[in-house]
């Protein structure tokens, strides 16, 4: 068997939350290209169906499940239905997340609801989905969970509270799950993407030079790392968060714009 075969996910089934757009869609497609069937989860059916069309074009099965991942009863029902539909689930990608209702507000203006919404969207959702699937993973003595955090899971930014706090929590959730279930052949890892804008306006593009790489991440770059972490090739890795950010966290955001241009390096 060649090392490249160890990245093959044929015969596996993956739940991907937030599969209707951006990074979630890219991850679903990459997992499908590597051989996995997909359960696409999210609130809005239409974008989930669009992802489904792409997955089916690749030749994989796709099951769409409208779910509010911050509601544990909906999450439990989604997982039960997915298992009923596919028999076994091997991979869970906890990708759903976002800025939440309080994004952009100053601390005194943040309401209790803003706080809970921000934490629930990014952290509680991953906790609920992991809790819902763990017995199934234990029963089959196999499971792979991939969480998605952010550079802001490591660092802070002015007047940002729920997002960095919940994303930091996702890194700790990864470790807690990894250590709790290491003996049962359940591996838990986390991807920390840098900036991957989904609609590049000239306004955003203008700031690309502040990134060490001089560019943002391209959506298609997230898929291969997801496949790697979901595969047998990553069997001795667990609890780890891996950055895919063109060096942004290693550099730090502000001095990043000082990364040397090509001509200065040679």
């Amino acid at each position: 068997m060649s090392i490249l075969d160890k990245f093959d996910l044929s015969g596996h089934t993956a739940i991907v939350t937030g599969a209707g757009s951006n990074l979630g869609r890219e991850m679903a497609i990459a997992l499908a290209e590597a051989g996995a069937d997909i359960i696409g989860v999210g609130r809005r059916i239409l974008p989930l169906e669009e992802t489904g069309e792409l997955v089916r074009t690749i030749g994989r099965r796709y099951f769409v499940r409208s779910t509010d991942v911050t509601d544990s009863s909906q999450v439990n029902a989604m997982v039960a239905d997915a298992i009923k539909e596919f028999g076994t689930i091997e991979i869970l990608v906890n990708n759903a997340g976002g800025g939440g209702a309080g994004h952009g507000k100053q601390l005194p203006e943040l309401t209790d609801e803003d706080w809970h919404d921000g934490i629930d969207t990014n952290l509680t959702s991953a906790f609920f989905c992991s809790r819902a699937i763990i017995q199934h993973f234990l029963d089959q003595n196999y499971g792979r969970i991939i969480n998605i955090t952010s550079g802001l899971g490591y660092r802070a930014a002015r007047q940002q509270f729920m997002y960095p706090i919940s994303k930091g929590g996702v890194i700790q959730l990864t470790k807690a799950l990894a250590i709790s279930y290491a003996r049962e052949n359940i591996r838990v890892t986390c991807i920390a993407p840098g900036r991957f804008p989904h609609n590049l306006t000239t306004d955003i593009e203008r700031y690309a030079d502040r990134q060490p790489a001089g560019r943002y991440g391209r959506l298609e770059e997230i898929g291969p790392m997801t496949v790697f972490l979901a595969s047998e090739a990553a069997d001795y890795i667990s609890g780890e968060t891996i950055l895919i950010d063109g060096g942004a966290i290693a550099a730090g955001i502000v001095p990043a714009g000082m990364a040397p241009k090509i001509d200065e390096v040679r």
Partner: protein, 256 residues
């Protein structure tokens, strides 16, 4: 699968005669890459090892050569790389794997031991990286992966010298990754935990048994365990991953 296919590329793995290094060379060859290796001495056993590794690569249709060079001798490396470029191809992927594990109480070390450890574990990484990296930056493409240990981030008795060299590798990796990212060259490190094939407390059978209980995945690492991470990091698909330390350690470093 096409994903992570390295066909048409040429990798150089330095310090290539240990079991971990052998595993890396074979993974690169299986992924489609031509692979050359370096040995530190021209002693017969090392040469036999290097040739046996290369034989396995040749048997699946890859090219590659064994170079015997002192990895801190700039002129010798430069000369070897020029001739390697002529006979095989420019180096697209550099995997720096010289790695010694000095375990000694700090008060028993001396300036000579420090100089030796930093020469083997650090200078032997930085000097080839400068010579080969210079060419990668000119060509606008390249992958550098350095072998490191999770010990850089932990306090372990009798490992101050070893840990200092590993901290040096991590710092080197992070800064150089940023310096070269706009040139299309990424620089990353693979951080290992306790492996069957590495020296360390695991060499003692009593400590080894304790480790097997303590490592969350309940076993020591094996040389094959690093193949997937290595292939991912050197692939075209990982162009946006740089200055990163990818830890392959059975989760021991996330344990409380």
């Amino acid at each position: 699968m096409d994903l992570f296919d390295l066909s048409g590329k040429h990798a150089l793995v330095t310090g290539a005669t240990g079991p971990l290094q052998r595993s890396v060379v074979l993974a690169l060859a299986e992924a489609g890459c031509d692979v050359s290796v370096t040995t530190v001495t021209d002693q017969l056993d090392e040469e036999v090892q290097a040739n046996s590794i290369l034989n396995e690569c040749w048997s699946i249709g890859r090219q590659g050569e064994a170079l015997t060079i002192n990895l801190t001798d700039e002129a010798a490396i430069e000369e070897a790389i020029i001739s390697l470029e002529e006979r095989i191809a420019p180096v697209d992927i550099l995997v720096n794997m010289p790695h010694q594990v000095p375990i000694v109480p700090f008060l028993k070390t001396d300036a000579a031991a420090e100089s030796q450890a930093f020469s083997t574990n650090v200078a032997a990484v930085m000097i080839p990286t400068r010579i080969i990296g210079h060419r990668m930056v000119q060509r606008g493409v390249g992958r550098v992966v350095n072998l490191a240990s999770i010990i850089h981030d932990r306090g372990v008795p009798n490992c101050s010298l070893y840990a200092a060299t590993q901290g040096a590798i991590v710092g080197f990796t992070k800064s150089l990754g940023i310096e070269w990212i706009r040139s299309g060259v990424t620089v990353n490190a693979l951080a290992l935990g306790f492996y069957e094939e590495l020296a360390g407390p695991q060499s003692d059978s009593r400590l080894r048994a304790a480790l097997e209980q303590y490592i969350p995945l309940r076993r020591l690492g094996r040389s094959d365990d690093i193949q997937g991470a290595l292939i991912y990091l050197v692939s075209d698909e990982a162009a946006f991953v740089t200055s990163e330390l990818l830890v392959v350690d059975g989760a021991i470093s996330v344990h409380a």
